[in-house]
C-alpha cells in the first residue's frame, strides 16, 4: 500500500534554501489522504481522486468569488467534505457492496475489519484507564451479553429472518423481540429486499458468533454503517432493531467541562477547535452540521453541550481523555480498536495499529501531516513496514493531528513533531531577535548513519526545521555554519547554533531506526 504523498518531493528545495512546509497544495494533500485510505485499485483510485478534485476546485472557486482567499477557500471546501477517513471508508464500502444472495467469504470480514482499523476514527484501549471504553455498548459489560455474543448460529439459503432471530434466542436461552417496523424501515432505506419474519435471509454462512453473523447479514442487505440491524439485551430479552432506533432511545444531553484540558489547549481558540474537531472524528455523519440528525454540539462558557446517542458520548470521552493526556499518553502495543458499532469484526492486524491524537501548538495540521509523511518516507523501517504510518488532518483549525500506524512508528512521529515544535516555540523567536548580534555561538556534531542514506538524512533535517531568519538580508549569517556529508563513512558533520544541534541530534535517531526501542517519554 502506498503512503501519503508529500507535496514536495525529496531533492527539491525552496528557492531560498529554507525549510518549506507551507507551500504545498492542501487540496492535493487531502486527496492523497482520501485515496490512500480508500485502498481502491489504480484506475478507480484515479477516478475518485479526479472527481473529488473537481468538487473541491469548483467549490473553492465559488468561495473565492465570494471574496475568500485562495488558501481559505481550499481549506473551507475540504472542511465541508468532512473527515477524509470516513469518506474513504464510504467509498470503499460502496465498492464492496455485492448483490444480495451472494455467499460472503471470510475474507470480507477481514476487509471490513481492516477498513475500520485504518479509518482514522479508532479508539485505543489503554489498559487501566477508566476513561477509555473498549465497547460503546452496555451489553459488552454484562455476563448475559457475553453469553449472547458467544452464541453460534448458521444461516441457510432458505432460512427466514424470523427463524434466524429466534434461533439466536433459542441458542442463548433467552427470549427475543424483533422490532419489525423498524427493520422494515431499515430495508426501505437500503437497496436490499424486505426484512420481514417470513422473508428469506438470502445469505448463507457456517456457524458464527453473533457479531460476525450480523456483519454478514448487514453487508448482504447493503446497509450503511450508520443504520444497520443491531441488538441490545434488555432485562433478559434480546431486542433486535435498527441503529437509528437505538440511537434515538439512547440519546442524552451531556456537558463536558473543557477547563480540564492541558494549559496549551485551554484558550478560547483551542476550545472552539475541540468543538470543531469532535464532529469530525466521532461518527461524523450523525451531526446536524454534517447533515445528520442524531447529534448536536454547542460550545458555551468553556463547556461542550452535546446531545447525542450514548455511543457518541463514549467516543467523546475517549477523545477528550486523549487530549488531556496530550502526547504523554503511552501508545499501547496491545491496543484494541474500539468497535465503531457492535458489528465490527477483529481484523488480522488490528492489534498492531493504533490511532493517536497529537496536539499541535505551533504547526497547522497540514504542515504537521507533511512533516510526518516525509519522515515516514525516509525512515527505513517505516518505509518497509506492511503497515504504513498515516498522518490524518483532523481539521484545518483543530490544533490536533491524528497519527495512525504501528505503536512504535506513531511514537517516533509524535516525538519528531514535539522536537520540531519545541524548536519553533523556543528558538525561532530568539533567532528573530538575536540574529543581529548572533548571541548563540556554534557547536559541532557528527552523526553516523546506521540504516539511512546520510545525504537524505541531511536533506531532511535542513528541510523540515522551519527557520524564520530572513536569508535574503542575512546572507552573511547562517545557522548552519557547516554541513558536510561523508557518504563513504556514512556520517554527517554539522556545525550550527547549539539549539539547532540539539534538535537535529534528537531527530536523526528517530529516522535512522535506533537499535533499541525508544523509551516512552512524557510530553
Amino acid at each position: 500500500m502506498s503512503r501519503l504523498r508529500i507535496t514536495q518531493a525529496p531533492g527539491e528545495r525552496a528557492p531560498d534554501g529554507r525549510a518549506d512546509l507551507h507551500g504545498g497544495d492542501s487540496v492535493s494533500a487531502w486527496l492523497d489522504v482520501v485515496v490512500t485510505l480508500s485502498g481502491l485499485p489504480g484506475d478507480e483510485s484515479r477516478d475518485v481522486r479526479d472527481e473529488l478534485e473537481d468538487h473541491l476546485r469548483t467549490r473553492s472557486r465559488e468561495l473565492m468569488l465570494g471574496g475568500m482567499s485562495e488558501n481559505d477557500a481550499a481549506r473551507t471546501a475540504i472542511a465541508e467534505i468532512g473527515d477524509a477517513a470516513t469518506l474513504a471508508k464510504g467509498l470503499r464500502g460502496a465498492k464492496a457492496r455485492k448483490p444480495r444472495r451472494t455467499v460472503m467469504a471470510w475474507t470480507t470480514i477481514g476487509v471490513v475489519g481492516v477498513a475500520a482499523a485504518t479509518a482514522g476514527i479508532l479508539a485505543v484501549k489503554a489498559p487501566g484507564d477508566p476513561m477509555v471504553r473498549t465497547s460503546v455498548y452496555a451489553p459488552a459489560t454484562s455476563p448475559d451479553a457475553e453469553k449472547v455474543r458467544a452464541v453460534k448460529i448458521a444461516a441457510t439459503p432458505d432460512m427466514t429472518f424470523g427463524e434466524f432471530f429466534q434461533g439466536l434466542g433459542k441458542a442463548a436461552g433467552m427470549p427475543v423481540v424483533v422490532h419489525w417496523p423498524q427493520l422494515h424501515a431499515l430495508a426501505h432505506s437500503s437497496d436490499g429486499p424486505e426484512i420481514a419474519a417470513v422473508e428469506p435471509l438470502g445469505v448463507e454462512f457456517a456457524p458464527l458468533s453473533l457479531i460476525p453473523a450480523l456483519d454478514l447479514l448487514n453487508d448482504s442487505l447493503n446497509l450503511t454503517p450508520d443504520n444497520r440491524v443491531e441488538w441490545r439485551l434488555v432485562e433478559g430479552t434480546i431486542l433486535f432493531a435498527s441503529t437509528a432506533y437505538f440511537d434515538r432511545l439512547e440519546t442524552s444531553l451531556v456537558t463536558y467541562d473543557l477547563g480540564s484540558l492541558p494549559a496549551t489547549l485551554a484558550s478560547g481558540e483551542h476550545r472552539d477547535s475541540v468543538g470543531e474537531m469532535i464532529p469530525r472524528v466521532v461518527e461524523p455523519t450523525l451531526w446536524a452540521d454534517h447533515g445528520g440528525d442524531r447529534a448536536t454540539l454547542t460550545v458555551f462558557a468553556g463547556r461542550l453541550f452535546v446531545k447525542a446517542p450514548r455511543r457518541v458520548h463514549d467516543q467523546i470521552e475517549w477523545v477528550l481523555s486523549e487530549i488531556r493526556k496530550g502526547s504523554d499518553a503511552a501508545p499501547t502495543a496491545s491496543a484494541d480498536p474500539l468497535p465503531a458499532r457492535s458489528g465490527t469484526v477483529k481484523a488480522e492486524s488490528q492489534s498492531t495499529i493504533i490511532s493517536r491524537m497529537v496536539p499541535l501548538d505551533h504547526f497547522g495540521p497540514t504542515e504537521a501531516a507533511e512533516l510526518v509523511t516525509r519522515f515516514a518516507r525516509l525512515a527505513p523501517d517505516i518505509r518497509r513496514s506492511e503497515q504504513p504510518l498515516y498522518a490524518v488532518e483532523v481539521g484545518p483549525s483543530s490544533g490536533v493531528i491524528n497519527l495512525i500506524g504501528r505503536p512504535e512508528h506513531v511514537e517516533r512521529a509524535a516525538r519528531l513533531l514535539r522536537a520540531v515544535e519545541s524548536w519553533v516555540k523556543t528558538t525561532n523567536p530568539r533567532l528573530d531577535r538575536e540574529s543581529t548580534d548572533w548571541a548563540f555561538g556554534t557547536t559541532t556534531f557528527t552523526y553516523r548513519a546506521i540504516n539511512t542514506d546520510p545525504t537524505q538524512l541531511a536533506d531532511f533535517v535542513t528541510r523540515v526545521i522551519p527557520v524564520k531568519l530572513d536569508w535574503e538580508q542575512r546572507n552573511d549569517v547562517s545557522i548552519w555554519k557547516d554541513l558536510r556529508v561523508d557518504a563513504a563513512a556514512a556520517t554527517i558533520h554539522l556545525m550550527a547554533i547549539p539549539p539547532l544541534i540539539e534538535v537535529v541530534a534528537e531527530i536523526l535517531p528517530l529516522i535512522d531506526t535506533p537499535a533499541e526501542p525508544l523509551p516512552l517519554i512524557p510530553c
Partner: protein
C-alpha cells in the same frame, strides 16, 4: 447553519429524480438539492460520492468523463484542465425511480394513517389521510 438531514432512503430518490431531468456532475447535484430545498436539505460529499459510486455499481446510473478547462489566472500552473465526471440515469435507474416514487407514496400513505392519532394536539394541522 440550519441544515436539515436528508434521510438515507430519500437520497437515492433525489439523485435519480434530478438525473431523470438530465446529466449532472457531483457538485452540481449537491448544489441543486440544496437550492431546490432552500438549503433545508443538504447531501454532504461524504454521503454523496459513496452513494453515487454504489448506484453506479448497481447500473442505476452511468458516467462519462469530460475535460474541464480551469478559469484560473493566466500563467498559473494549476490552471490546467481537469476531469469532470458526468452522471446519467440508465433505463434500470428509471425503473428504480418509478419504484421509489411509488414506494414513497405508499409509505407516506401508511404513515398518514397513523398521524392523526399521534398528532392529537389541539389546533395542530392534520396530514392528509
Amino acid at each position: 447553519m440550519a441544515a436539515r438531514s436528508v434521510a438515507q432512503e430519500s437520497s437515492e430518490l433525489l439523485i435519480l429524480s434530478l438525473l431523470a431531468e438530465g446529466p449532472r456532475y457531483g457538485y452540481s447535484l449537491s448544489k441543486e438539492i440544496a437550492s431546490r430545498s432552500e438549503d433545508a436539505v443538504r447531501l454532504t460529499p461524504g454521503v454523496l460520492y459513496p452513494l453515487l459510486k454504489g448506484m453506479e455499481s448497481q447500473a442505476l446510473i452511468e458516467s462519462t468523463w469530460e475535460e474541464v478547462r480551469s478559469e484560473r489566472r493566466e500563467g498559473d500552473d494549476e490552471g490546467e484542465g481537469r476531469r469532470r465526471k458526468w452522471y446519467r440515469i440508465t433505463p434500470k435507474g428509471r425503473t428504480r425511480l418509478a419504484q421509489r416514487v411509488e414506494s414513497h407514496h405508499a409509505w407516506r400513505r401508511i404513515i398518514d394513517l397513523f398521524l392523526p392519532a399521534q398528532k392529537a394536539e389541539p389546533g395542530e394541522g392534520r396530514a392528509e389521510a
